[in-house]
């Protein structure tokens, strides 16, 4: 890192960058490993993390490395900044100084977003706090909160956003900062204006193509009919067609091993004699095989009448499916406890259960008491109609915040559904 000026203690003090670097590497490696099992969705996040903890070999240790490693990394990244400050790096090496500050900030951001991912109670409250902090920013707070959550409340969209920030955006920024710190690359020098222009024209063509042709997506595999004819993307048609001509296991040789050997030979071309001849033969053969097989694949699909019919039927099915309205997934996050009453409506779980409990048993958070709803119908002014009116305007029923109006959250019909469930609750 910095040129070693001294030996002894002073040299050891200057190792803060190395320590932070190793810890950062550990975060990258363990993070990538965790991503092999983790699923960022409210119905699977906690399940997959517990699977890592309880079932997968070394899972608990690797996750612990990631969890505590992030805390140690924050500490050492901060110590590194202080050390650089004491060494006056801000005058002697500006890039090093700025990169250290950026890295510290990014490491903190990574830690903040990572806390939400296991989706346990700790994660939920950390997300709540992040929401509150962002929402409290002057002027922009409301919008920052909405953009961070992906919606007006914490949901599965929030988890996806924290996941994308934590595993894609922030690590990419960290990597870019390190590349800049180590190589000082000026990216604009890599591309001349002609390159940029040509690339731009091709992008325009692709953009127009995609405007007319959405990427294919049909009904889920469970709904697919038995007659479904699968066809690969056009860059793989040669492979697909060649598999028809080659018996059994030989497909792996011609489709994987041979192309692999060809690529390996091409890599070592600079060291080979007769490079022009060998390379020309291989590339030429490749072009011929690809063109022949791709053409054969197109022709065989056109020629056979049944195939043609089935393919156009599939295209029509995909088209029809695309026109159907989106169907959201139904996910019940409520734990099913042994109660005699019918399970709570989904909207009760979403809006009410946080404070009044999943079974209407009430709760206590700090000094605030949230009243239980059991036997509430026995009290005056608590019929179904009353409860619906109360949900619209709690003040009219002498209720104080944090009880709030739900008029802009749920419809009257939904309020009635919740109310009808609540009046049946018994102690």
């Amino acid at each position: 890192m910095t040129p070693a000026q001294d030996t002894g203690l002073r040299a050891w003090i200057q190792t803060t960058g190395g320590i932070a670097g190793i810890l950062l590497l550990v975060q990258f490696v363990t993070g990538i490993l965790l991503a092999f099992y983790y699923v960022p969705s409210v119905d699977h996040a906690h399940t997959t993390v517990s699977y890592i903890e309880k079932v997968v070999s070394s899972g608990s240790w690797l996750r612990s490395l990631h969890h505590y490693g992030s805390q140690w990394l924050s500490v050492f990244a901060f110590i590194h900044v202080i050390r650089l400050f004491l060494d006056r790096a801000y005058t002697s090496n500006r890039v090093q100084w700025i990169a250290a500050i950026l890295l510290f900030g990014l490491v903190m951001a990574a830690g903040g977003t990572g806390y939400s991912l296991p989706w346990d109670a700790r994660a939920f409250f950390s997300t709540r706090v992040a929401e509150g902090l962002m929402g409290g920013l002057p002027f922009v707070g409301g919008n920052v909160r909405l953009w961070l959550l992906g919606g007006s409340d914490i949901s599965t969209l929030t988890l996806s956003r924290f996941f994308a920030l934590h595993v894609l955006l922030i690590p990419a920024l960290i990597a870019a900062t390190i590349v800049w710190r180590v190589f000082g690359l000026n990216i604009l020098k890599l591309f001349g204006p002609r390159h940029v222009f040509a690339g731009g024209v091709v992008f325009l063509a692709l953009a127009l193509w995609c405007w007319k042709h959405p990427a294919p997506l049909g009904p889920s595999v469970a709904e697919a009919s038995a007659e479904y004819l699968p066809r690969p993307g056009s860059q793989f048609l040669w492979l697909y067609q060649s598999l028809k001509y080659i018996p059994g296991g030989l497909g792996s040789i011609t489709g994987v091993v041979l192309p692999g050997i060809v690529l390996a030979v091409l890599i070592f071309l600079p060291w080979l004699k007769r490079a022009r001849l060998i390379g020309g033969t291989l590339l030429g053969a490749g072009v011929v095989v690809i063109l022949l097989m791709t053409t054969a694949s197109y022709l065989s699909d056109r020629r056979d009448q049944n195939t043609r019919k089935q393919l156009s039927r599939q295209a029509a099915e995909e088209d029809a499916w695309r026109r159907q309205p989106f169907e959201p997934a139904r996910i019940a996050l409520a734990t099913t406890a042994a109660t005699t009453t019918a399970s709570a409506p989904v909207l009760y779980i979403k809006w009410c259960a946080n404070c009044h409990g999943e079974h209407g048993e009430g709760a206590r958070q700090g000094r605030v008491n949230f009243p239980p709803l059991l036997d509430v119908a026995a009290k005056p002014r608590r019929t179904v109609d009353d409860i619906v009116r109360l949900l619209k305007d709690p003040a009219a029923y002498d209720l104080q915040p944090p009880m709030r109006s739900f008029s802009n959250k749920i419809t009257e019909q939904q309020m009635r559904e919740i109310a009808e469930w609540i009046v049946k609750l018994k102690k």
């Binding site: 550990v26 363990t30 490993l33 099992y37 899972g59 240790w61 497909g251």
Partner: protein, 162 residues
């Protein structure tokens, strides 16, 4: 004077490499165990196909079985098609093509099974006719219990190992 200095320098060169190797080995070893694929236990449950009384005729019949698969953190319930050959004493055939594992279908009009992926064809009793498939369609373990035909589900992996 020269000698100890030299050995000290070579020690300083080796030490960091050793430490780095230690870090990589400890995490690398754990990573290997962490990523090691698991072999899903074969389900030996007997799954209902149909009542024996409704399995008649000379044509192969396509029937659905519902199998539960334990795969990592999820237990999935999946439907699988199987072919029943009433003409061959209700033998049950897997619909998984022995070539690359695509789902084979019965072509009534041409009196044959065909694979939609790479054009392997099988005769009415499941024997291979042509195409890249190395063999005919695999028979599944079957039994008759209380007038019901039952099978054990066999995955492509188990089928190709057999």
């Amino acid at each position: 004077m020269d000698k100890p200095d030299k050995s000290r320098r070579s020690f300083l060169k080796i030490l960091p490499l050793g430490v780095l190797a230690g870090v990589i080995a400890s995490i690398g070893g754990a990573a290997f165990r962490f990523l090691r694929p698991r072999i899903f236990a074969a389900t030996d449950a007997w799954l209902d196909v149909a009542s024996v009384s409704e399995l008649t005729g000379a044509q192969p019949l396509t029937r659905k079985i519902v199998a539960e698969h334990v795969a990592g953190w999820a237990i999935t319930t999946e439907e699988h098609n199987v072919f029943v050959l009433p003409a061959k004493n209700n033998q049950v055939l897997s619909t998984i093509c022995p070539h690359e594992g695509c789902e084979v279908v019965w072509e009534q009009a041409r009196n044959r099974f065909s694979c939609p992926c790479h054009e392997s064809y099988f005769s009415v009793d499941g024997a291979r006719i042509s195409g890249p498939s190395p063999r005919g369609l695999d028979p599944l373990p079957m039994r008759v219990q209380d007038g019901k035909l039952q099978v054990q589900y066999v995955s492509k992996e188990q089928a190709t190992q057999a």
